[in-house]
């Protein structure tokens, strides 16, 4: 399933942040989003994930195909690692908890409450969730935050395996993941500031 973004404009808090974005994300390909802080990468990813409507343009092929991983991992601290994953497995009606736990080196932590994990371990649990969704298009928002270098490599391997299996990934990141992918710098797509609407001016 190819994700197609055409002439997309996204807004945050009613103000356009990025405009005129077009790209394709065919199976087996990773697109790496780059751009300075505050440019609108998260907003773009949320729009593509369907959490907010685009200001203009269209996103096709994303419906019920994407798995989204945000800055927050969505982990319940009182549930164990395995229970957290089991919940998402059931929500997405998929399997593969053991594989997900092994892929992210969480085997020893399997029965530990998520509240007792370190930040990096929580992040790994959050990323392991992607594997149990069974969705082909991964949308990852700075997935390597708080991961050590070994686990960044491990994460890259997981993404590479996902791509080889016919999946695709859209990753916003500031570091080099060592993935062969198209790099998309969103900097040039920064929306022009909207013209000042002086409608209220006369009343002030």
């Amino acid at each position: 399933m190819t994700l197609t973004v055409s002439d997309l404009s996204v807004a945050r808090g009613g103000l356009p942040v990025l405009e005129g974005l077009s790209f394709d994300l065919p199976p087996g390909v990773a697109v790496i989003l780059r751009g300075p802080n505050g440019i609108g990468k998260t907003t773009l990813l949320r729009t593509i994930a369907g959490l907010q409507p685009p200001l203009k343009g269209t996103v096709t092929g994303a419906e019920d195909q994407v798995a989204y991983a945000a800055h927050a991992d969505g982990i319940k601290l009182t549930l164990t690692v395995a229970e957290n994953l089991a919940f998402w497995t059931r929500v997405f009606d998929h399997t593969g908890i053991d594989d997900a736990i092994e892929s992210f080196n969480l085997t020893a932590l399997r029965d530990r409450p998520a509240g007792a994990l370190s930040a990096g371990q929580k992040r790994r649990l959050g990323l392991a969730r992607m594997l149990v969704t069974g969705r082909p298009i991964w949308i990852l928002d700075e997935p390597t935050v708080s991961l050590d270098s070994d686990h960044v490599r491990q994460f890259s391997d997981v993404v590479r395996r996902h791509l080889e299996g016919g999946g695709s990934a859209l990753i916003a990141t500031h570091i080099d993941l060592g993935l062969e992918g198209t790099v998309l710098n969103v900097g040039p797509f920064k929306a022009a500031p909207p013209p000042i609407d002086d409608f209220d001016g006369g009343f002030l």
Binding site: G50, L51, A72, G74, L77, T78, L79
Partner: protein, 218 residues
């Protein structure tokens, strides 16, 4: 959907889940009222249905901001919104989980606590039935309020202000039904109205809550 329900129930039971919160508040209200009002059994038994209803309503209100805010804070609400479950189903399940952890225990314990308030003997059944019919509406309306205030830090104040007026019809007909039952009058009209409020809320409000949530998640 079952997975979400089980998870929410599981979370409510674990440490810090807030399962006993509404229940203990309800207990405190019903224990304290006789001390405050004084040991006049006649007065107590007259106000008992109303006090039990107020207690149940406030106990419900106390735990409303947990319905969606916790999931919003740790990011799981965003992830649930991108999951195969429709948001309407998510908010319905959330209301149901809230009712099972807060409303249902109140319904079950209210007749027991009625003893402390000198509830007339023939009123026990009516308190039980009126709460059973009314508390689902409290949970569903509360979920709507929680959806409205989900992105706000410390939204509890706004939530109670928004939800209280919506709770008034449920309270009026619920307490009226229990009061009429206690005095041996016909309870049919308030019972039908109460059941109507609950049925309409359960049928319609999840759609409204889901629409509101969609806007709040932007």
């Amino acid at each position: 959907m079952i997975a979400l329900l089980l998870r929410d129930l599981n979370l409510a039971m674990r440490a810090g889940g807030g399962f006993g919160l509404g229940l203990s508040f309800f207990l405190i209200v019903t224990v304290m009222v006789p001390f405050a009002v004084g040991p006049e059994t006649e007065l107590l038994s007259r106000i008992a249905p109303g006090v039990l209803w107020i207690g149940a309503l406030l106990a419900c209100l106390l735990s409303l901001d947990r319905i969606l805010a916790l999931d919003w804070e740790d990011g799981s609400l965003d992830l649930l919104a991108t999951a195969p479950l429709p948001l309407e189903a998510i908010v319905t399940i959330k209301s149901l989980a809230h009712w099972i952890t807060t409303g249902l225990p109140l319904v079950l314990i209210a007749p027991v606590l009625g003893v402390l308030l000198h509830l007339p003997a023939n009123a026990y059944l009516w308190i039980f039935v009126s709460l059973l019919l009314g508390t689902p509406a409290l949970s569903v309306i509360g979920t709507f309020g929680a959806a409205l205030t989900v992105g706000l830090k410390r939204g509890g104040l706004l939530l109670s202000l928004l939800v209280l007026p919506l709770y008034v019809p449920t309270l009026i007909f619920g307490a009226e039904m229990a009061r009429r039952g206690a005095s041996g009058l016909s309870t049919e009209t308030p019972m039908l109205l109460l059941a109507g409020i609950s049925a309409a809320s359960v049928a319609l409000l999840p759609f409204v809550s889901a629409a509101v949530l969609r806007i709040n998640l932007r």
